[in-house]
Each structure stands twice: as structure tokens, then as C-alpha cells.
């Protein structure tokens, strides 16, 4: 039998009982639709998290802090370090002393870069002659990329102090919009240990899009950070303390392990957003489980449909066997019926899900009052859509095996004799 004839025959057989075929397809659509929506949701949220991760810091940066003395599950006392005598008490996180820094330095491999940050005390930010606003610093992360609405990324090689400010800062600072803020000079007041406030003159090079994870606060370049540390430490004498240090390395894992061996706590940018990713993954797992249940139910529907169809067509199948149709062809034709149902069902589901996702995604975000630029709730890619269509069609075909074997086993005469 030629393939084209076989296909035509299976198509005709699949829709012999139109109502039943449509109900089977609906069952498949429900399962495949759930899969597609879930996958779109996963893609959308994960790619948003990825974008936010790059906003937190470069992938090859490890943040090192002392183990927090405030940690609820602390299991040891921390030795008192006289160097920390002038550290601000009650900051919560453990503070690194000079000896800690030396310890860290001793573990570093050649090529690793240590960036220390002493405790800083920025106070306010203002444009020339503008009103002063409290300045809460987001810190300095080497190689940081933020999602910009205007301007450029920070340049760590530039010796002039640069800032990237969040979008909400544009209006209070007195600029008409994000674009006109670029290139403007602002002043950041820094409180020294001696009680004096000194201004850093910095240029706004970029305006950051509103972010969920990366922090909605101003970032500075290396030059800005150096001035900030310098001014904050004025009058401190020799003692220095550090809330955290950064290690830039090609081997993130080694550095993290080394730091932990020394009793310090170390985290990568990816680990900092790891929690949100775990939650998302967990939710998606549950949704996928529901989709799998729907597909399993649809598979039983297909088994039932095909068994009924074969029961009804016993005489027809017997006749085809009598006219010389091989068992293998009978098997293939029944399996192809399932392929037809699975393919139609999954294609409809995918089209429906993509349409619904793209139309309702923005509406859902709006309804939930989630103003998160860059977040597309649903994001579909051709690869996973293809996998869903193929996977669902394969599941449908698998469901056809038992009915198809049963049909192929019919003896021509047994089938023809059947009284129907």
C-alpha cells in the first residue's frame, strides 16, 4: 500500500465518527494547552530572572562576607577582633577585619582580583542647586550590566566618577526625562568618620529600568567607589573594616569553596537569585504535573476511541485483510489515526496557547498591577513548541499500540463472520 493511500485511509478512518474524533482531540488539546502555557510561563519568568541576574553582577564575581553573628543557627562564638572596635555596631551582617582580608588574599590564585570595600556612609544626592535626597547606595559590582532605559553602562576604566541612577530618580533630581539626565553632573555627600560631609562630583551615564531583583538603587563605577571609600574613611586612623569584599575570578566554584573552608560566607550572583528560581521551578513542576495528568487522561481517551472504532470496523478490517492488506499495514493505519488525532490536537493547543499567552499575558500583568518592564509573562520559543507537538503526538501514538495490535491480530474470517 502506498504511503499516500495509507495516510488518506487513516485520515478518513479517524473522522469516520466525527463527534468522537473531535472529543478525543479536545482531550488532547486540554493537555497540550496546559503544557504549552506552562512552558511559556517558565520561559517568560526564567528569562526575566536571567536578565535580572545580569543586573546584580557579573557571573564571575563572588561576594565574600564574614559569617553573620546574627544568624539564627550560629553554632560558634566569634572571636573578638579589636580592629573592629570602631565598626558600626548592629549592622547585622558580620564584618570583615584586616586579618580576614589577609586570610582571603592567601587563598587567591594568580589571576583572581580582590576588590575591597570599606564601610561607606553616603548621605544624600542632589543636582547643582537641586533638592537633597537620601542616597542609598547599591554598591560597586565589577563588570555589572544593568537594563538601561537611557545612556550607557558604567565604565570602570574611566577615572571620573560615574553613576547609573534608577528611573524614579530622574524627576526628583530635576531632569525632564531619562535622556536629558544623561551627561549631567550630580553631587553625592559622604560622611567621614571625622563627622565631616564631603561631596563627590559624579556624572550620570545611565538610567536604569525598574528591576525586581537587581536592586532599584544607584550604582557607581570603580572611580566613584574609590572616592566613596576614601571620603567615608576620613579620620578613621589606621583601622579599616569591610562589610564585604568581592573576588573576581575565572573559577567561581573554587573561590566559594575556599572561602567557606575559612569560615567565611561566599555567594555568587546566581546564588543570590537562586531562591527565586527555585520557587519558580517548583511552581512550574506542579503545573507540568497537572499537564501530564491531562495528557494521561487524553491517552486513555484515545485508547477508548480506537478500541471502539476497531470494534465497529471489525468487518471492514476483516475485509481489508481478506483483500490482502498485511497485518503490518493494519497496525500502521490504526497508529496513524492516533498520530492524526495527536497532531491536530497538539497543533490546535499550541496555536491556542500562544494566542492566549500573548494576548492575556500583558493583561494579567496589568490586572495584578505588576509594573515590571522587561517581564513578558509568557514567552514561547519554536524549539519547546516543537517538542510539545512531537511529545504529545508520540504519547497519542503510544496509546494506539494496544488497539492497533488487537486490530492487526484479527483473522480475516473471524472479522468477516462478526455479526454487527
Amino acid at each position: 500500500m502506498r504511503t499516500i493511500d495509507l495516510l488518506q485511509f487513516s485520515l478518513k478512518s479517524a473522522f469516520r465518527r466525527r463527534g468522537r474524533a473531535i472529543l478525543s482531540i479536545v482531550a488532547i488539546v486540554i493537555g497540550a494547552f496546559t503544557f504549552t502555557i506552562t512552558s511559556g510561563l517558565g520561559n517568560g519568568i526564567n528569562s526575566y530572572i536571567d536578565a535580572q541576574t545580569s543586573a546584580i553582577g557579573a557571573e564571575n564575581t563572588v561576594s565574600v562576607t564574614a559569617t553573620s553573628s546574627m544568624a539564627l543557627l550560629s553554632e560558634r562564638f566569634e572571636k573578638y577582633d579589636p580592629d573592629l572596635v570602631s565598626a558600626v555596631a548592629g549592622t547585622g551582617a558580620g564584618i570583615l577585619s584586616q586579618s580576614d582580608i589577609n586570610t582571603i588574599k592567601s587563598t587567591l590564585a594568580s589571576g583572581d582580583r580582590l576588590i575591597t570595600s570599606v564601610q561607606t556612609n553616603p548621605q544624600y544626592i542632589h543636582a547643582p542647586n537641586g533638592e537633597k535626597y537620601r542616597f542609598i547606595y547599591n554598591g560597586f559590582w565589577p563588570g555589572k550590566k544593568v537594563n538601561l532605559v537611557a545612556g550607557t553602562q558604567l565604565d570602570d576604566k574611566n577615572s571620573a566618577a560615574q553613576l547609573v541612577v534608577p528611573a524614579y530618580a530622574v524627576k526628583p533630581l530635576g531632569f525632564a526625562d531619562a535622556t536629558s539626565a544623561i551627561g549631567q553632573t550630580v553631587f553625592v555627600g559622604v560622611l567621614g568618620v571625622d563627622g565631616q560631609v564631603r561631596d563627590i562630583e559624579a556624572e550620570i551615564v545611565g538610567v536604569q529600568q525598574r528591576a525586581l531583583i537587581g536592586g532599584n538603587l544607584p550604582f557607581g563605577n570603580e572611580a566613584f567607589d574609590a572616592l566613596l571609600q576614601d571620603y567615608s574613611g576620613k579620620g578613621a586612623g589606621g583601622a579599616k573594616w569591610y562589610p564585604y569584599v568581592l573576588v573576581v575570578t575565572d573559577d567561581v566554584e573554587r573561590v566559594v569553596n575556599d572561602m567557606r573552608d575559612k569560615g567565611l560566607s561566599a555567594a555568587t550572583a546566581a546564588q543570590m537569585v537562586g531562591d527565586s528560581r527555585t520557587i519558580v521551578t517548583g511552581i512550574l513542576l506542579v503545573l507540568n504535573l497537572l499537564a501530564a495528568i491531562a495528557i494521561a487522561a487524553a491517552m486513555f481517551g484515545i485508547v477508548n476511541t480506537l478500541l471502539m472504532s476497531i470494534q465497529e470496523r471489525t468487518r471492514q478490517l476483516g475485509l481489508f485483510r481478506a483483500l490482502g492488506m498485511p497485518r503490518r499495514t493494519v497496525f500502521t493505519s490504526i497508529a496513524l489515526e492516533a498520530v492524526v488525532l495527536g497532531l491536530i490536537g497538539s497543533l490546535i493547543a499550541v496555536a491556542l496557547a500562544v494566542g492566549v499567552g500573548l494576548l492575556l499575558g500583558p493583561l494579567a500583568l496589568e490586572a495584578a498591577a505588576l509594573d515590571l518592564p522587561g517581564l513578558a509573562l509568557f514567552q514561547f520559543d519554536a524549539g519547546s513548541l516543537t517538542v510539545i507537538v512531537i511529545g504529545v503526538t508520540l504519547a497519542a501514538t503510544a496509546a494506539a499500540v494496544i488497539p492497533a495490535v488487537r486490530a492487526a491480530r484479527l483473522l480475516p474470517m473471524d472479522a468477516l463472520r462478526e455479526e454487527l
Binding site: M1, R2, D5, R315, F320, L323
Partner: protein, 232 residues
């Protein structure tokens, strides 16, 4: 033309098991000669239809051997038997076994479709239908046809692939006398003009007597052979 096309040697067939076991054929031997017409007659339940089905490879005997042109068919793979049924055998059944959802032409072309023939399907179908006086009904559904017309469609389907043996199981059993006459006439025309060997099961004495040879089956055994061809 006295070549034996099909030989049946001591075949036995039972249905069911245990106390419900029914021995339909208890050992029947028969030779079918190329181009002849053979009537298998007997009461209902005598085993005559079972014999026809076994000869047509529609069923498998429990014991005994069937030879087609000298070759044993028990050694045949299922696939080879399928090909034989498709190319060398034609079947006509009492209850037609047409697909009511398909057109006349689609029903008739089925053996060609199954056999993988791609060229000239439509032309061959129309040719055969024309011969049986149904060319103008080619694109109608078989469900609108009368009994006689349906059986003619079934005959068209049986001969479309130019078989060597035509098996007919009570071909006129479901037809009135006029239609029955037409159908049996067609079968004998095919037998005489095309040289197709004809094997039919019937309980109609008139139809049986039109055949060159008649065999009587009773209680699963071959009772007697009569007619012009009886000597063979």
C-alpha cells in the same frame, strides 16, 4: 487446461474448545482445476463455507495441507498469503461487505490500493464497472444501491486485480431471483470468457447445476462429486 491450481489435502478445522468444540471439517481432500467452475453444496452447518474460507486463505486449517500451483501454503508467511489473496484470489460474499461510507469506485479500487497499484486505477475501475453495467454509479455511495447492484459492485471489486480464482460464498443468497440470475450470469461469464476459476458455495440446486462440477459436503466430510468434471 487440466492443470491443478489448488489442492486441499485432508484438511481439518475445529472451532471453540472443550465441550463446546465443533469440528467443522473432519478431513477433506479436493483438487481444483484451472478454469473450472466448482460448486460446494451442503446443508447449513455442513462445513461448506469453512472449506471455501480455508481454500481462500481467509482462515488457517488445524490439520492438513493446501497447495497453490504445487506449493504448500502452510509454509507461506502471513505476508505472502496476503499477497496471494490480493493478486490471485477474488472474493464475493453473501452480505457484500461493501463500505457504505465510500463510493462505488472507492470500494472497487480497494484491492488496487492495498496492492500498491498507482497507475490507471480510475480507468481500470471504470472499465470493470462498465462491464457490470454500473459505470454511471461510480461516484455514488454504495448505501444508495439496491442489493443486486451492491453484489455487482462486490464482483467488480473481486475481479479488479485480475485474479486467477474467484471464491463466492452464497453470492445470490441475499438477492431476489431476477438479481440472483444477473449476478450468477456475470460470474459464469467471467469464468468462461476470462478463464477465471470459479469456486462457489451455494444451497441453490439450480446455481450449483450450472457449475461444471459439484461437491457435496455433509457433516464435515466430502460426500460425493458429480457433474461433467466429476471424473477429474
Amino acid at each position: 487446461m487440466t492443470e491443478t491450481v489448488l489442492s486441499v489435502r485432508d484438511i481439518q478445522k475445529s472451532y471453540g474448545s472443550g465441550s463446546g468444540r465443533f469440528r467443522a471439517l473432519k478431513g477433506v481432500s479436493l483438487n481444483l482445476v484451472e478454469g473450472e467452475s466448482l460448486a460446494i453444496v451442503g446443508k447449513s452447518g455442513s462445513g461448506k463455507s469453512t472449506l471455501l474460507h480455508l481454500m481462500g486463505l481467509l482462515d488457517i486449517p488445524d490439520e492438513g495441507e493446501i497447495l497453490y500451483r504445487g506449493k504448500s501454503l502452510s509454509a507461506l508467511t502471513s505476508r505472502a498469503a496476503d499477497t496471494l489473496r490480493n493478486q490471485e484470489f477474488g472474493f464475493v460474499f453473501q452480505s457484500f461487505h461493501l463500505d457504505p461510507h465510500s463510493t462505488v469506485a472507492e470500494n472497487v479500487s480497494m484491492p488496487l490500493v492495498i496492492g500498491g497499484v498507482k497507475k490507471d486505477r480510475r480507468r481500470r475501475v471504470i472499465e470493470v464497472l462498465d462491464r457490470l453495467g454500473l459505470a454511471d454509479r461510480a461516484d455514488e455511495r454504495t448505501s444508495v444501491l439496491s442489493g443486486g447492484q451492491k453484489q455487482r459492485v462486490a464482483i467488480a471489486r473481486a475481479v479488479i486485480a485480475k485474479p486467477r480464482i474467484l471464491f463466492a460464498d452464497e453470492p445470490t443468497g441475499a438477492l431476489d431471483s431476477t438479481n440472483g440470475e444477473t449476478v450468477s450470469q456475470l460470474l459464469f461469464d467471467l469464468n468462461k470468457q476470462e478463464g477465471i476459476t470459479l469456486v462457489m458455495v451455494t444451497h441453490s440446486p439450480e446455481l450449483a447445476s450450472t457449475c461444471v462440477r459439484q461437491v457435496v459436503i455433509s457433516d464435515g466430510l466430502l460426500l460425493s462429486t458429480s457433474g461433467e468434471g466429476a471424473a477429474r
